[in-house]
Each structure stands twice: as structure tokens, then as C-alpha cells.
Symmetry: D2
Subunit: 331 residues, 4 copies
């Protein structure tokens, strides 16, 4: 039995708690949240105790912590949990600052603990199956990746101001997908160009950010990646990618609530995509947590490490800089 503490009882903390509570051999022992009511609600639901960071880290029976708190607390919690000898699951991003993220990687390594970063898209059944087929050679050598990534609507401007900007907040996932899909053989980004616009809400411009972006990356091996994102899609949460290989194409579509198709005078109408990430990635969040504990128990390496978090962060920094300057970045 592995004992786990969850730091952060917000939306994502509740998802992870529900998933780890359902895992055989795992016990949700503690919950911490700066808002006591949030912590106690969540703890009660799964028979856990409310605790503090200090107490959790001091408890020898705790094997692992799941960091689901706000982004600005991640690096501190990783460092402290590593020092306390706890294995770590941490939501993305490691930190908005690449040096601090790198320091986390160093701390984890020095402590000899395992640390997994929550890039849940790698566990999405559709995306993961595409990755598996690519690795199996089903479409030959990967050549080109087109990622479409759109939110149903922009978050509050206050959120945007603290987010580090769209590249670090939203595209970090897409940049990780780029590395996962196009760089699986050790290839790396060689050239990156990004641009962006404000098309949905002038308040986003006032906050110094953009809401629509277009990023292109060329790798050392000459592979090409294009990412298009928007903070708003009238039809919901749009998460797709297509990878062209020398022998074919793998196209990853959205997940839908049902397979009902309505035929009427207006046309042949299928469901919109799932509403947002909690619905679309429900299976991914569950499989990600299974993977975390499976690796802890078997010693297998994580599919997503702090190094992946740092690498994605570096690409996000580059994209942010390129978008501002209008000039490409070469690595």
C-alpha cells in the first residue's frame, strides 16, 4: 500500500484525488489546501485527513505527494518534497522560470526520488495510440506534425496576467506533444518562429498577451511542426494533431460525448467535442495516475519527467520571445 498526500484541493486536485483513490494498493492519506474548507471537503470524500505541508513531509509513512497547487508553488514544493525523500507527481508547469525548473530537476536528482510531470496528453488514448503506431513504424519515418489546440473560451484576464503568457500557459502542452511525437528518436528543435494576434478580446492585448498564435518548428533532422492555437472556439475544446510520415498519416480527432448523428433538414450533425479538458482528458488523467503508481511499484521510468518539463518550458520561452520580436530563434 502506497500512502499519498495531495497538495491542492482545486479542480485538478479533485480529479487526481478521485483517480488515485480508485487505484488498488494506493491510499489517499492526506490533503492540504490553503483554503481549509476545500481541504476538508476533499479529505472527507475519500476518507483522508487534512494536514499541513510540514506534517506531510515529516510523516515517514507518506510515499508520494501529488502537487496540484498553483503554479507559483510548484518549484518550492518539489524541492521540499524531494529533500524529504518523497516521490513526486507535479502538475505542469514545473515553473515559469527555466532556471528554477532546472533547479527542481537538480534537486530531484540529488535526492534520488522519482518525479513525474503531468503532461496528461501523453496518456490520452487517442494521442497515445498514435505515438505507439508511429514508434511501431506504421507510417514510416515522421516528417511533419500539425497541431490544432483551441480552448472553448478565454480565461479571466486576471488569470492571463499571472499565467506567464499564452505560450507558457497553453502551448506548453502542444510543445510537449511536439517533442513527444517528432523528437522520440532524439531529434531536437533547431529553428522556431512564432507569431500571434489578439482576435477575441482587446483586454488580452491590454494584459500584454495574445489569444491566437501560429508557431513553426524545424528540427535538426528537418522535420516540420506547425501549431495553431486560439483561446476561443465557438464549438468547444478542440484538441487534434496529424503526423505525416513517409508511409502515411496518423490523424488524431477529438473525443465526443456520444456517437449520435442527427440527420435533418439542416444537415448531418454529430456531437461537438467534449466541453473542456476535464471531459476530454478524463481517461488521460486516470491513466496518468495509474502510470505514476505503476512506475513507483515496478521501478519503470516515467513517460514524462522534470527534464521534459524543462525542455517544454525552454521552447515556450523561445516562442514567447519570437512572437514579441517577430524574428525566429535558432537553437
Amino acid at each position: 500500500m502506497k500512502n499519498v498526500a495531495v497538495f491542492g484541493a482545486g479542480r485538478i486536485g479533485r480529479i487526481h484525488s478521485s483517480n488515485l483513490a480508485a487505484l488498488p494498493g494506493v491510499k489517499l492519506k492526506y490533503v492540504f489546501d490553503p483554503v481549509p474548507a476545500a481541504a476538508s471537503d476533499l479529505a472527507q470524500k475519500y476518507g483522508a485527513e487534512v494536514s499541513s505541508i510540514e506534517a506531510v513531509l515529516a510523516d515517514k509513512s507518506v510515499d508520494a505527494v501529488a502537487i496540484c497547487s498553483s503554479t507559483d508553488t510548484h518549484s518550492d514544493l518539489i524541492t521540499r518534497a524531494a529533500a524529504a525523500g518523497k516521490h513526486i507527481f507535479c502538475e505542469k508547469p514545473v515553473d515559469l522560470s527555466v532556471p528554477r525548473a532546472q533547479a527542481c530537476a537538480d534537486a530531484v536528482k540529488a535526492a534520488g526520488v522519482a518525479c513525474m510531470i503531468g503532461f496528461q496528453r501523453r496518456f490520452d488514448p487517442t494521442f497515445n495510440d498514435a505515438s505507439r503506431r508511429l514508434a511501431a513504424g506504421d507510417i514510416g519515418n515522421a516528417e511533419m506534425l500539425v497541431i490544432t489546440s483551441r480552448d472553448p473560451g478565454a480565461p479571466p484576464v486576471e488569470y492571463i496576467k499571472a499565467s506567464g503568457g499564452i505560450f507558457r500557459d497553453m502551448l506548453i502542452h502542444d510543445l510537449d506533444v511536439f517533442r513527444w511525437i517528432l523528437c522520440a528518436d532524439g531529434d531536437e528543435a533547431a529553428w522556431l518562429s512564432a507569431t500571434g494576434s489578439v482576435l477575441t478580446d482587446p483586454a488580452i492585448a491590454a494584459a500584454g498577451d495574445v489569444d491566437s498564435t501560429a508557431v513553426t518548428i524545424r528540427t535538426r533532422k528537418g522535420r516540420l511542426c506547425q501549431i495553431n492555437t486560439s483561446r476561443r472556439a465557438a464549438y468547444g475544446y478542440d484538441q487534434r494533431f496529424e503526423v505525416l510520415g513517409s508511409g502515411g498519416l496518423l490523424q488524431c480527432g477529438n473525443h465526443t460525448p456520444t456517437e449520435v448523428v442527427q440527420w435533418d433538414a439542416q444537415g448531418i450533425r454529430a456531437d461537438k467535442p467534449e466541453a473542456f479538458f476535464l471531459q476530454r482528458y478524463a481517461a488521460a488523467y486516470r491513466l496518468e495516475m495509474e502510470h505514476f503508481f505503476d512506475c513507483l511499484q515496478t521501478g519503470k521510468p516515467f513517460k514524462t519527467t522534470v527534464a521534459d518539463g524543462v525542455a517544454a518550458q525552454k521552447l515556450a520561452d523561445a516562442a514567447s520571445e519570437s512572437c514579441k520580436s517577430g524574428l525566429p530563434i535558432t537553437f
Copy 2:
């Protein structure tokens, strides 16, 4: 907290146990199975106790039983559980004999307990959404229903011999879908014609059954239903229906493991349907159990009752008779 006992630790008993163990406010207290090892394996997994039918029914703390044992035990267990004042979830069919099924309905009514029959298709997100849209008038008045229902492969002939025949074993679900979709307003079957063939395995003919069937039903209001089934589909488990209304069509497709589409020299290839009923109806089984306990707690009526079980059984009997005689049945 509702205490529940599960009778039967086979494939479907394990599914239901897993789903009810995950429900807040529900405790899997006892497991019974004639094979002790099966019972103890399942009980251990969810922290339940192995028990006997007699002890379960005598225990006042047990609120409900889930009957997941073989078909020939259903009517006996329903009758005894009802007499003991337990609420009942029972897998389909109630009984292969309509009189015995009717006796169960009477016993349940006399005892004043609630009894739900496991027609899980009514809880499938796709099928259920079609039913909801039909009720909402999205395609006007229902006129015609076409059901395609195919298993990936035939069960062992020994199973077929004990199954009551393809109409009672396999089409019972489709006949329930017919009643659910076309008879929601109180309409009823008026005329039924069935035919069948052995196309996949001569051993099925030797066992006195068919493996491919075509059933047509006309209702009192003149609605038409066609059901086509096969014990074998080379591409997997095929569960679809289409309902034509005065204002359009609702088409219910299969569920697939992923949304990956592979484009290559052979064509544009999407996933096959889910492999079999455990995969296809995973969500349905979960939602069905939620519904059972939700109704117990709120007093809302079940969506599928013993009366539905009896009615589907009568149609299955009629189809079986029509297939043998080559003549239609009028009701």
C-alpha cells in the same frame, strides 16, 4: 450507506461489483458464488465478505442484492430476495419462461420491494441520448427503427444449447430497445415476423438454433421495426440503431477505442468498434448501477423493471415461434 450483496462472481458480477464499490454511499458487503475461490477473490478485492444466500437474505443490514448468477437461478433468487425484503438488481433475463418471469413480477410487487432488470443498453450514453432527443421531439414522431446487432463470434455450442435460443439470449436486448424507442408513448407490437438461418457454423443448426436472424415488428400505430442480428461479425461487436422520425433521423454508431485515423496506401482507416459488450457497455454498466442506487435513495422509478423483462421475453418467445413456423404472430 447502502449495504449490498452480489450473487455471482463471474464476468458480469465482477463488473457490477467494481462499479458499485466506486459509488459513494454504497458498500459491497457480501459476495456469494457457488465457486468459493471466485467469491473470495472478488470479496477480497473490494474488502467484502464471502457469504451464503441464506445468510445474506437473513442479514437485516443488507439493503439490496445484485443478481449476477446464471440465468436458471434468477427467478428463484428474485423470489427469495423479494420475500426477504431486499431491493433487487437482476441481470437480464428475468427467466427463460414467461410464466416464471411473470411470477417474479408478482412476487416483487407483493413484497413491495424495488426490482430493476439489467437492460444496460438503455444506459449507453449514445443510445440514451438518442432516446432523450426523440422524447424531446428533435426528429418529430418516431416512424421506423432499424437495429443492427452483431456479436464478434458465436459462443460455445454448449452455451447455445442452454441459452433458450438466439431470440431469448441475444435479441432480448434488441427487443427491449424496440420497446424503449418505438413504444415510449404506450404503443405496442401488433404484428411480428421472424426468420433466421445458420450461416456461420453447422453445429449451431445441430443444436437447434440459428445464428443469423431478421425480425420485423409493426406496432398498433403502424410504426415499423427491423432487427438484423448475427452471431459473428469479423470486425467485432456491432451495436447500432437508427430511428427515422417525421422530422429526421437519429443514427447511433458504435463506440471505438480511440479516435485515431490512419491514412495510407490502403485507405483511410478508423478503429473497429469496441471488442465486445464489456468494453462497449462499460459506461452503460456504470451508469446503470448509479441509476439503481439513485432510485433507491430518491424513490424515483427504475427505467427498466421486471415488467420490461417480461414484455421483452414475450416478444422473444413470439420471434422464436415465428422463426420456427415461418408465419407471423399477431398480438
Copy 3:
């Protein structure tokens, strides 16, 4: 150069004229229609002459006639054209009376001319490709066929009264598809059951017909066919079939005007099917006429003969009778 005369300058006569005028090596020489203005309009468009039946049949330079006039004139024109030594293309049906249709077959045979019946669905690129794959063994041995055939709306009741009823007027095409797809190896209908209702317009009942039908056929080899039809589909002209084989399924979808899909708050919406038969079968009508002249020039046999017309007519008669009596027909 083959000289051709067209009898009938209505909707279908104009289609066939346009297609044969575009064929290299074919000259539309004469047009006849009881309405002189219709004949002269059509003749003028393609540089043909208006003529009479007698004059056309007496003209030695005329190689072939295309009979596109009303159904009640078909058998007379076939007989006379055959006697005059002309090759014949005739729209379906040969005749509403099976004996008269058989007499046409005899007359054609006696005269040694070639006569093709316009079952254009056999030339639809989608349906034809399914037939080709089935013959190539791509899905193994054919077992079950499900045909969905719906018109966008009912024709005027006056038309219905003269049509011979829905089975002879509308299902004749579907019954030919049954023979083409399931009986390609010489198999034949052994048992047929039909039922029907009036669901769209009581005037159709008053005219002695039905508007919605469900037909089931079992062949000598035990293959099963289900046909569902309606005179009305709110979403347009619906022409699909699916054939299950021992190794898989071939599913033939509708043709659509475009491949635009609109994603918005209401869902993911593709085009409705083509509006009606002239649009859906535009390619089929063209390819059918190519086939007619290709066979005339090369001596290859037609894909659809008078014998096919007679056979489909017999099935339509049987379905009509079964629907009236409520009892199956055995052959």
C-alpha cells in the same frame, strides 16, 4: 457512329439525351414525345430531329432507341422496336404486369436484338464498387443485406394511384439491388415477407397504398435481406445499403454535394445527401448509357437485361401480395 432515337422528352428523357449526346461515336438523331413542344425543345438542344414512333422504327439508319416514356407505353414500344430490329434501352419497369414483361423478354429474344433495362443503381460508383469488392471476395461470402431507401417526399397522389403501388414503383429498385448483391452466384429468393403502413399522409391510404414498408427475404442459401423504405425523409434522398459477409462488412453511404463540415455551437455538421435521384444518380445515368453503347459496340452482355426486369417485377408482386395478406410468400 450509332444513330439513336429517344422516346419521351420528360425528366429522364432529357437526362439520357444529354448523356448520350456527349458520347463519342453516338448521334442523337430523333426525339419523339406526345407533347410536340417537349420534343422540339429537346431535339433542338442537341441538334436532333423531331420524329414519330413509326418513322423512327422505319428508318434503317437508326441503330437503337431509348425508351423514356411513361410506364404504360414500355411493353408496346419494346415489342415494336424489337420487331423493327432496333436495339433497346428501356427505363424500368418493363411493365407492371409480369406476363406482359415476360412477353417483352420473349419478343426481344425472338428478334435477336439487345435490350437493356435502366436499373441505374448498378452503375452508381459507390454501389458498383461494393459489388465489385464482394465479387473479389474482399469480405468473404455474402450473408446479410440491409437496404435503406427513402425518398425526400411522396409524389402526388395521382401519381401513386397509377404507379402500381410502392412495391412496384419504388421498391423495384431495391429488389433489383437484392438480386444483384445477394444472388450474384445464382442464389434466389426462397421466402419473402412484407409489411407496410401509412405514416406520412392519409391520402396515400385512401389511394390504396402504403408509404412505409419493411420487407424481408431469405434466399435458398439462407442469406437474409431486409429492406426499409419510406416515401418521406426530412433530410433528403437516402440511398444506402450494407452487406455483411463472412469476413467483414461493406457499407455504402450517400453521396453529398460537398465535403464541407461546419463546426459550431450546434455540433459538427456535414452536408445532407444529394436532393433526389437526378443528383444522386447523375454519375450512374452517365455510366449506364456508356455501358449501353459499349456493349452494342463490343458485343459484351448488358449488366441489366429484360430478365432482370421480369425477376424484380415478380418480387415486387410478391411483396405487394404479402403486405396485403400479412402472410409470407414462398417461392
Copy 4:
């Protein structure tokens, strides 16, 4: 009756000849090709005469010429035809040199003749319907365009050497689509970045070209366009675009030969896209020629003019330069 001469009896000349020969009111009078046999074959097929450029331009009865000859002859033929007072249909591109293309525009204007450039994608039923819906406001204001454009395989290296490079040869069409879809309200490219690689054949690198490209354009209004192309797609000719608007998305898929879907043990398999441009754009070529003569007869303006040709050429030059330098171009 309009008399037309076709210059060039190659692949595209034959397509256009076939389409214009089928137009009522149009007569294919002359064919010229430097290869006499090619000219006479084509002329004979449609009852035209073989002629020379000089004789055609001197013949007062010729209303229009269709220039289907090699790219390097376009500007000379446009200029001479304009001087001779002939209306002009010319295949893309106007000329590989922007100044020469601009000179053609000037010559056409000075002569007062009409000149249409063959950007056939604007006449593709699917693409054209998306353009129509966008103009109708069906998805609100256009924001982002993603174009996928892939050939089934690279042309011979000798062709590539003379082609002006992939941007002028292949992307010119995509750049015209960008202008057509995103700049319909007068918007214009403000910033363009292109990159490319050789991934399919080193001989293409040796010829100084690339075979895989990624282009991004930002307009004055901040709209974003991403174009991805490859000279090779193992699954055939891939021609799609998606345009995101404030109210939804319009997705344009490929056209397929049939609507057959095969379900078997390998999956659910639809047709590959049409093989190459002659098949995919068959309808577009037909509709384009109809448009040309419709405009000549009614005086309506062409949908694609020499100015469009020049504008696309400028974008292709910019993309070519950006790809070479690795730096963006601002306009």
C-alpha cells in the same frame, strides 16, 4: 457562338478542351501545339482544326484563347493575344517573374480584353461552398486558416529544376487560397515566414529546392494562416483547408472516388482521396470553364484575374526568399 482556340495540347489542354467542347454556345475552333501529332489528335477528337499561333490571332472569328502551354510561354502569349483583341483564359502562373506578370496585367488592361487565370481551386465545389458560407457570415469573422496541401509524389527532378521552386510551382495555389479565404474583405499579408526541408529525395536538395514546407502569414488585421505542404503523401493527393471564425469552423475535406466503407478485422476503411489533381479538380475545371464563358457572355467580372496571379506570385517570391534566408518578410 463563341469561337475558341486552345494553345497547348498536353494534359491540362485536353481537360480544358473537353470541358469547353461540352459547353452550349462554345465552339473549339483551333488547336495549336508545338508537337503536331498532339495538336491533331486533340483537334480531331472535337472536330477542331490544327492551326498556328499567328493564324489564330489573325482570325477575326476567334473570340477567345485558352493558354495551356508551358509556363515559360504564358507571358508572351498573353501579351500577343491581348494585342490581337482576344479574351484570354490562362493557366497559372502568369509568369515566374513578377515584373513580367505585372507587364501582362498592364497589356491586358491596355487592350481592354478580359483575362482569367486558372486558379481552379476557387471553383472546387467544396472549397467554393466554404467561401460562400464564410461570406454569408455562417461562422462569423475569419480568424485563422490552416491549409494542408500534399502531392502524391514528387515530379521528375528535371521538372523541379524548371519549376521556379516549390513555392512558385506548388504553393502558388495555396497562397491564392489564402488570399481568397482570409483577404476577401481587402485584408492583406503583413508578415510572412517560411521554412522547408528535403525529406523525400536528396535529388531535390541537389536541384536547389525543398520538398516539405511550412509557411505562416499574418495579415494586417491580425488573421493567421498556416500552410503545410509536401511533395509526397503515401495516401494520395491531399487537399484540405480549415478556416476558424469567431462563430465556428469550416472544414474542407478531400473528395473520394466512392462512399464505400469496408469494415473488417483491420478497421473501418474509407476510400483514399482522389489520386491527383485531374481527378480531384475534375468538377472545378469544368465549372471554371463555364465561369469563363459565362463572364464573357454576361460581362460579369472573373473570380480570378491577372491581378490575383500577380499577387500570388509576389507571396510565392516572398516565401521562397524567407525559406532561403530563414528570416520573415514584412510587407
